[in-house]
Amino acid sequence: MWSVLVQRLWHNRLALIGAVLVLSLFVVALLAPIVAPYEPDYIDRYHILEPPSRLHPLGTDDIGRDVLSRMLYGSWVSLSVGFVAVGISTLIGIILGALAGYYGGLTDRVIMRFVDVMLSIPSFFLILAVIAFVGPSIWNIMIIIGLTSWMGVARLVRAEFLSLKNREFVLAARAIGASDLRIIFRHMLPNSLAPVIVNAVLGVASAVLLESALSFLGLGVQPPRPSWGNILKAGQANIEIAWWLSVFPGLAILITVLSYNLFGEGLRDALDPRLWERR
């Protein structure tokens, strides 16, 4: 199956570009300490709010720190927030969706009502409110984003489980006396993972967007720790004199999110057998 998948991805050029970009983001984030020209909090007192130059390729911020270096170190924040948050939300979504789909009845009704409630809260309000009380930090943000974005996964897994529940292999497993847990995790879950994986890749993209928005509002990653969002915050404060502070970090966010989206959509096509025959 994997070779087929790789082959399908290979033929989808946009998805390939997305995958390559995602990989290179990882490389950049890992290599940041080596390739960055300066330490992220090194202050160049003689070059404050300077436009891009040979000394500072993407300019300096309002207290003389190198924007390129801060962006390179900041990429690590975006990646880790995306992954941990999506890990949490996918885990919760799988468990609740599986329970709802497998057991049905009252369990299903209660869980789906809970999903409806969570979907109707303007989640950005809820996230901000919780952060106000637990305090902004990178870990809190990961956890809170994870806890407020599992509803889509839960619905997906539930739908998959509903359609798998009465298939022969599940009935056969039950007939030979397999436990519920074993049926759920060994038999049904592997067969419903495809849409979950696609959803997770797309979820990383929205988590990255959310983190940058929070940091931009000052309720995310706290300075002096660099993140794309909090560089943009300085960009807004100096919007009339320093375009480079606003343009470059935003571009980085755009490219990151775009590559996850391209990769995710390509993966969706590659994993969907209905599309295999057409091209």
Partner: protein, 324 residues
Amino acid sequence: MFTYLAKRVLELSVTLLGITLLSFFILHLAPGKPTDVLTELNPKITPEARERLEKYYGLDKPIIVQYLNWLKRVIRLDFGESFSTDHRPVWEKIKEKIPITLAINILSMLVIFLIAIPVGISSATRQYSLYDKITTVVVFVGFAMPGFWLALLLMMFFGVKLHLLPISGIKSLNYDSLTFLGKLLDLGKHLILPVFVSAFGGIAGISRYMRSSMLEVIRQDYITTARAKGLPENKVIYRHALRNALLPIITILGLSVPGLIGGSVIFEQIFSIPGMGRLFWMSVMQRDYPLIMGLLTIGAFLTLLGNMLADLCYALVDPRIRRQ
């Protein structure tokens, strides 16, 4: 139709109850007491005074009792008093902000609808054409664009560079001295950027949904029939296909309400618009507990109302649902 409506209203109330219950518990179980903000920075506070304060706000009672007390007051729209220095009733503070946020959101919904639907239709009817490919690329970029970054770029271009549009607030300083028409123009100028920015994400999303929904409908048998009996293509698309293709879009528009309301925090903050979003941001920064609860409740209520309106529209155009 009436039973359908009644059922939806009942559902709405139950969900709203669930939301308030959930928010209340989350905020209470989170570390830090709501009264911290009143006591933390006050050096004169004694443990006794702290206890009195907690008693005053009923924080010494079990959480479920606190919730029921809160609920009892909220039913009469009494959300308590704000913790901020003005100590005004929460409902009063929220009430004056609702029209601005609501107006911006409704305007951006309109903009989304007016741009996304035609774009979706035309790229569906010309699938794989150059136009379709370009819109697909634009949509992909639009999806990935952080709204607040777009706002910054537009502010830089139209505000700072061209001096065409104002970049903050909703009225100019000389607003009160303007004629009615001048006032309208002034408001409009201030609202262009915020409305466009908050509509942007929706335009990308909805035009995509419209495209796929239209593509699905065009493949149906009744469209082939309409074409076979010799109807002009325009009539086939706009009379026969459009109605059915629009159905799923209505639901999606309804589902995008929480995003719009949540997003208003960012846009109102960037453009310094005195609406619900900015009020929420300030209440969060000051940990103004009653105001946070009040805004969460009202925000959820507006969201549910939006969803219900979408469902009603759906029922109006789709007879199958009305009959259930």
